[in-house]
């Protein structure tokens, strides 16, 4: 081999290496999604430790020195719009509720669930204060708002089913959460299904009366949500994903600490829903359990049940393998590294505590 050829080959290898390194380089921006917006479309939300991380700018701080921007998009049209954004490669990471996530996965989206962001989710049914409706059975034939294609639809179908009804027995009006609240105020609808604190806010505003709350309803399983990562993004940037999960686990630990409860609710109130509405939404719930980032057997089981129910209600036509989809490596790493393995109670598939949290409840 002559020297020129050798030099040329060396150069080519070097160039390829440089190119390879460039490919492995960090992204310039992390595109982070969230289903729903704050009141009036403001870019803040409540109800999860991810919402707290957003309000406190924790991810922004983590990636500042690397020159990586965190670009938040709050999707008014929630899960269905997030699936479209994933399909069009416009999103890297997002929080997502069970039904939409399952629909996306069944539709062939390459995603991974890397972190639990909520389980045992509570659903409410709200009617105008002077409405004669007293129970789920009374909803028969009434105009009821629910947000199709989101976790609300699955929750609503489960609640209706537990009461011997189905979607066909009510007149469904498909509306997003904020639109449904406005329609309730103008009495264009007779009732709405909603998740989270909005129901309590409606009560405070005098436009709603809660006739059903999922708290303590043992017949109906609560909804789940998780942190979904785009499969290609995860493959190209595993360290970035690990750092995102690290930051969020830290946020979860801070959020679950009872001493920070007030500050947590204040940060959620940036969304426009009041501090007191969030407080009463959490009242009577195992707050540490619903703010746990841990992927345990109960979390997996909740998703498996969701897949089975979404299929039974005919919201998807293809099956989804939950075990292939949920990847707990990142969160397990983070818990280990931060010494938080015993910070949250782990639950078995039956929902009973397997390993009780080392943190004493006050």
């Amino acid at each position: 081999m002559n020297t020129w050829k050798l030099k040329f080959a060396t150069l080519a290898v070097a160039a390829a290496a440089a190119f390879g390194m460039a490919r492995a380089e960090n992204p310039k921006v992390i595109r982070f999604g969230y289903p729903g917006t704050g009141t009036g479309g403001r870019p803040y939300v409540g109800g999860s430790f991810v919402a707290y991380a957003r309000a406190a700018g924790l991810l922004e701080q983590e990636f500042k020195n690397d020159g990586i921007k965190v670009d938040w998009t709050f999707f008014k049209l929630a899960g269905p719009a997030i699936n479209e954004a994933f399909a069009n490669k416009l999103l890297d990471v997002t929080l997502l509720g069970d039904q939409a996530a399952i629909a996306g996965r069944a539709g062939g989206l390459n995603t991974k669930i890397v972190l639990a962001t909520g389980v045992r989710g509570v659903t409410y049914v709200v009617v105008p204060p002077d409405s004669p409706i007293q129970s789920i059975q009374d909803l028969k034939g009434k105009r009821v708002a629910l947000f199709r294609g989101t976790a609300i639809q699955l929750a609503a179908n489960r609640i209706l089913e537990a009461n011997g009804l189905s979607e066909k027995d009510i007149r469904v009006v498909n509306m997003d959460g904020l639109a449904a609240q406005a329609a309730l105020a103008s009495k264009d609808i007779d009732a709405l299904f909603t998740i989270g604190s909005g129901a309590l806010q409606n009560q405070d505003q005098g436009i709603g009366r809660i006739i059903y709350s999922g708290k303590g309803d043992d017949k109906v399983i609560g909804y789940a949500s998780g942190l979904l990562v785009d499969g290609d993004f995860e493959k190209a940037n595993p360290q970035i994903v690990q750092r995102i999960v690290n930051v969020l686990v830290k946020a979860a630990q801070w959020s679950s600490d009872d001493r920070n409860r007030d500050a947590l609710l204040q940060s959620w109130a940036k969304s426009g829903t009041s501090y007191s509405a969030f407080k009463r939404d959490l009242a009577g719930q195992d707050v540490r359990a619903i703010l746990s980032p841990v992927i345990d057997d109960y979390y997996r089981e909740t998703w498996k049940k969701a897949v089975a129910d979404v299929k039974r209600f005919k919201f998807i036509r293809k099956d989804v393998d939950v075990d292939q989809w949920i990847d707990s490596r990142y969160v397990d790493n983070a818990l280990k590294a931060q010494g938080l393995e015993n910070n949250w109670t782990r639950f078995g598939a039956d929902g009973k505590a397997v390993r009780v949290s080392a943190v004493q409840e006050p």
Binding site: G104, G108, G149
Partner: protein, 278 residues
Amino acid sequence: MSRSALASGSSIRFSPRPFAAGRAPAPVRILAGLVLPSALLLLWHNASTRGWAPPQILPAPAVAWSSFLDLLASGDLRTHVQASLIRVLISFALGSAAGLALGLAMGLSRRLDDLFGAVFHGINQVPTLGWLPVLIVVVGINDRLTHILIAQAVFVSVAINTQRGIRQVPERLVEVARAYRLSRTQSLRKVVLPAAVPQIFTGIRFGLANGWASLVVVELLVGSEGLGYLMSWGRQAFQLDLVLVAIVAVGIIGWILDAGLARLEGTFTAWRTGEAAA
């Protein structure tokens, strides 16, 4: 004296098929009609197989086809088509009856035309769906909203074209009727209405096409049945193949409805073509 004697007395300028001569034989026409659909299908196929669009956003024709067969087998497609057709036919019947009545009145009476004409042509300028926000506030989101909106689309189009059709009956025809000393009812039945039929049918066909298209949009909002609902649900459920099946169904049914009306128009105006051939 026969109708044809009257008709042949004038040169009819608006034969329904002015360029009917020189049409190719049927097989050639059918083949020619398939060129563009095949090209579109090929484009669609390429777009999804070569990844011009994500497969979740633009499923391949084969995927849409199997969804179509699924919907057909489960009876879901029938339910949705039936719901949409019933909605549009009720509204169409109401809208076209009212439109014919008002159109005739405005066509025959200058005074009524002076009274309603300006408002009417103004209303005609507003796209059907422009009424949607106002109607939602007034009647709420329900089936009545669909009926009113579609009936309105048909009504305006039929009324205006009926009025125009009657106004545009050639003066010569009216003179002939007068020369034969036909009564007002006789000349209306034997001269004016037959001459106005093509224009009236234009109104009816345009109204139905407009109504069918609007129906689908209203169904995006209202109810849990119908092709429009199927489209919106397909998007909510991230099953874009359902959206595509619904789009094709809307297109084909709209085309069949229009072809049906064209046939009906043909039977109403058969005497004209008969004349042209003679």
